[in-house]
Point group: C2
Chain length 242, copies 2
């Protein structure tokens, strides 16, 4: 697997920025948009219990994101990056108890028929989902802040998916009330800009080949996390209704 | 979910030892012996590629066990427990490079047709398996040594399963050479005794109700880890050959 480190042909200098960004973008194949569970979601083939399982499990991911972002800030010695990254925590948690991205996800969970209490006590969260999300938070704690930031670059791939999801869900699941879609409508407004500025940070602060490769590996890892979440949900759906 | 902590009827004293052990044994329902993937394994319904996927992924679990056990020792202030637990590391790693439980698992992987190199470089390890096993190692690092020890009590449930596995695999997969079963034959010799003495340690050192309940939760967590490993493998099998 791979060349020996002493191979004289192994490039050791940093990639040009355009090649580095291309290497990151190449990972779009591993993004979760084409996961079998998402395909069924978009094609309108999920039952209401399956949508509920998805919403309750995805909640665990949403609720861990501010801690993941705080772990990145905790590892970062640069005030300009910390200042910028702080907006993520505010975005998820909101400025007040009633708003924020996590709260909007709860609205979706309620719109598919879950009680707020059964989402918050995490009774529906599958062990495999918990392990995958915890791995993401632990990654942000244990790795360099650049790797933590790079792991968030799945945002580059998400605006198109989110637009399609909003349209497909409105079409195929008309029983979901419009208030359930606040997460997507408000997220769409910010995510494109986030993806752009995050790439800029990663390119600027990964100056060595080793850092660039670690950033690409971090984004691949994050794709694995997202797909493992859906693997667990999809497997549980098959166990319920084979 | 559960009574309020101020409920006057909530028992707060420690359970009698017999009740505590019964509460631990009650978790046998959550053990992985009746997981759909294990049922197929025992019924001889796995293809050779499926057996290979299982062996290569289970390798990642086997290879992490000595680090899990070292994390427990690292958290334990009692020399008599540390001295006892050290045998686990020796068991898995062996005294010399050629032996030990992990090495015996490699023999099984080779007997089902894998190259040693493709096992060791972990190319077949599924992300969900990695996240579950890493969660187990992190649990041992982050929790009390008593919880770490209690999480290993799935051993109480394993001797019967391992005897059956040996018999069923010899019968249904006769192409697997006998040298492939060294893991099971040598493990069977030690695991019954391990389970007994581990229960004794847990009973002796979980003196409060809170510690007892944490021990039961730790064993439930471990059952979730084991089942999540098989969920990932089983899901991947269905993706390969639906």
């Amino acid at each position: 697997m791979g060349s020996a480190p002493t191979d004289p042909d192994t490039p050791t200098g940093p990639m040009p920025a355009a090649d580095f960004v291309a290497a990151l973008r190449d990972l779009s194949d591993r993004y979760w948009d084409r996961h079998p569970f998402h395909l069924r979601l978009h094609e309108g083939r999920l039952t209401k219990p399956e949508l509920q399982l998805w919403a309750a499990n995805r909640w665990y991911y949403q609720r861990c994101l501010p801690q993941k972002d705080a772990a990145i800030i905790a590892n970062c010695p640069l005030p300009e990056v910390r200042r910028h990254w702080l907006d993520r925590i505010v975005y998820h948690d909101g400025r007040d108890a009633g708003d924020g991205g996590a709260r909007n996800w709860l609205r979706l969970a309620e719109a598919v028929g879950l009680d707020r209490a059964e989402v918050l006590d995490e009774r529906h969260v599958l062990p495999g989902v918990r392990f995958a999300v915890d791995a993401y938070v632990n990654f942000a704690r244990a790795r360099s802040w650049q790797e933590g930031v790079a792991s968030g670059l799945t945002e580059m791939f998400s605006p198109g998916l989110m637009r399609r999801r909003l349209a497909d869900m409105r079409e195929h699941y008309p029983w979901i009330g419009e208030e359930g879609f606040a997460y997507f409508t408000s997220r769409l407004a910010v995510v494109a800009g986030e993806g752009r500025s995050t790439v800029d940070i990663v390119v600027q602060h990964c100056g060595t080949r080793e850092q660039q490769e670690a950033a690409v590996a971090a984004l691949a890892f994050k794709c694995d996390v997202l797909r493992a979440i859906l693997d667990s949900i999809d497997y549980a759906c098959h166990q319920i209704a084979p």
